[in-house]
Symmetry: C2
Subunit: 154 residues, 2 copies
DNA sequence: TTATGTGCAAATCCTTTGCAAGGCG
DNA sequence: CGCCTTGCAAAGGATTTGCACATAA
């Protein structure tokens, strides 16, 4: 990275980030970071790849995957729609919400019905609304207990 | 389907459903329906397949997929986590919510911050909460306009 | 009988991984 | 120079599709 880039605030921010995470500063990572940072379009892989290719024509799709996965693992970005995708089905016809356990992957139902009206009001201008669901992620009771047990008896 | 099954209320319900949808009543569909109906465990494909195999040992995984997909298409069940999976990334670090357009697939941000407290309170007993997001699905403004134009000029 | 539904095998598509070469520190 | 990164090729895994046979209606 040449010294000229030090004047670019995004670049400096990125270097600080890498330092914090113990990562090397590479052109690939910087280019991906530049495109993703503050980007509100929720880009899919190929959008990111395409954009980054304009700067680094030889970057591979796989590297973009790796870099984005690393960013997501460190919480630098958030991954919507993880491909931890196995089709799941829900036969409950009533409006309801879901709690996703990050540990065991199970999904639990709950109902916070005021969410519906609130989200509808807020998303009103974006289009016609079909359904509203609150999605909560965390660690379920059972997994919490397991972790506590493990911690107590080392 | 023999007449004995007519006495089973689930079966009768299922026959009515098939009639409404213009579907043939088959043992495979009935078995899948039986397992899924009222099932609150959000089963993945293999759980459904495994359960149905106990009744129909020769049913194929592909058929289970087809049947569940058909059910979901008709709104008989809801498909959580569709495998329309292409990884999507979101660089907005602030808590916020998402509007998914069913037509164009784009995702829009909005904020309905009261949702957080409400959902937390409701999901409180299920475990430790990491994040809360309202997920709204519908048809975005732009797609709505396109559909209206198409309808107005046939 | 006739069109729909199903099993089987194979194709797709997205994502991840192994490995050797490249490049940051 | 040594270890972390990357490109390339290939593997993996989930879901879908083509086709011939089975079966509701």
């Amino acid at each position: 990275m040449d010294s000229q880039l030090d004047r670019d605030p995004v670049c400096r921010e990125f270097r600080a980030l890498c330092r914090k995470l113990g990562w090397r500063v590479t052109a690939s990572r910087l280019a991906v970071y530049r495109f993703v940072r503050g980007n509100k379009s929720h880009p899919v892989i190929d959008s990111v790849w395409e954009a980054v290719q304009r700067e680094l024509p030889n970057i591979s799709r796989e590297s973009v995957y790796r870099i984005l996965t690393d960013f997501a693992d460190k919480g630098v970005i958030y991954q919507l729609e993880k491909p931890d995708v196995v089709a799941r089905y829900d036969s409950n016809p009533r409006r309801h919400d879901h709690f996703y356990c990050e540990r065991c992957g199970r999904v639990f139902d709950f109902s916070a019905d005021e969410v519906d009206a609130i989200a509808r009001a807020a998303a009103n201008k974006l289009g016609a609304i079909t359904r509203v669901e609150a999605r909560v992620t965390g660690i379920c009771e059972e997994c919490l207990r397991k972790e506590q047990t493990r911690t107590r008896r080392p």
